[in-house]
Symmetry: C2
Subunit: 171 residues, 2 copies
């Protein structure tokens, strides 16, 4: 299933004119957050660069796929990860702390309702972008047609991410 | 001429499936470095994000257009800008400090030969990327078909850039 998801990811990027090199094609990160329901809660990642100053990734979401709620906390004296999501293709609904939107467009994954707690909605279409401040709860879901997001950020240290769902393990 | 170059930039990005929002379309940075020979020595830039932690831009080069030699020096206690060039379309020859390549593929802009001094060649085709260390002289030129480069970097502070050509002013 991981291999199928990796192939599907490459195909989606190909169709949208985003070229990966051979090494990247062989190292698509398929993340199911240990929940074993990748199509509902999961994310596909290509890490272009992650050094001690900045990070850049391509994120691919399948149709209605959701990245579960989490935050990037401060680590020691260093501020938590700050990240800019730029929608390249498809549609993304991003939710973060702040005033709840009256009606949200995403569908919260069934059985996980308790672990989605922030509902300030930002809709991102191709060419739109939004910067998520450090240490801020957020989650996001693709529309029907899936989505490609370029993520520009400070250094990525996934092992410090805090997920609302206690059963999630991000390795 | 600036307006024509901006329009051409938008067209190239459109043709390659890179979507800009309205504000970005209205703020294409067309840089001729004060040399008044944009087609030979110049660069078109879309700044997606530049904050005190990271920066992301799209760089567009027309056919055989050259970005002149420069470095990003350390500023006070902060290390100079570090940047990753990812070729999205076309072809780029990047030159930086280090052992000179036996034969370089770029053509040095006529009349400016004195201001190109580093010749370690890196060829970037779509999907290839290279990270330029801080405080390192570099220049780059697109191939015949032009190029689109995604630049991921630490904070951009153009006003501190040092150009080899003393007549260049980067505002």
């Amino acid at each position: 299933m991981i291999e199928d998801a990796a192939k599907k990811t490459i195909k989606i990027l190909d169709q949208n004119g985003i070229v990966l090199n051979k090494n990247e094609r062989n190292h698509i990160e398929v993340v199911d957050f240990g929940l074993n329901q990748l199509e509902k809660q999961g994310l596909q990642i290509i890490v272009y660069e992650n050094n001690d100053r900045y990070c850049a990734k391509e994120l691919v979401l399948f149709s209605n796929q959701t990245c579960p709620e989490h935050s990037h906390p401060n680590v020691g004296e260093e501020e938590g990860k700050m990240e800019t999501f730029r929608c390249r293709a498809g549609k993304v609904w991003l939710y973060l702390e702040g005033e709840s939107s009256e009606r949200i467009q995403a569908k919260i994954p069934k059985g996980s309702e308790d672990y989605y707690t922030v509902f300030h909605e930002i809709e991102l279409n191709p060419g739109d972008q939004f910067t998520i401040p450090p240490d801020t709860l957020h989650w996001f879901q693709a529309g029907e047609e899936g989505a490609i997001i370029s993520e520009f950020s400070s250094t990525s240290r996934d092992e410090f991410d805090i997920f609302t769902d206690p059963s999630i393990q991000r390795v």
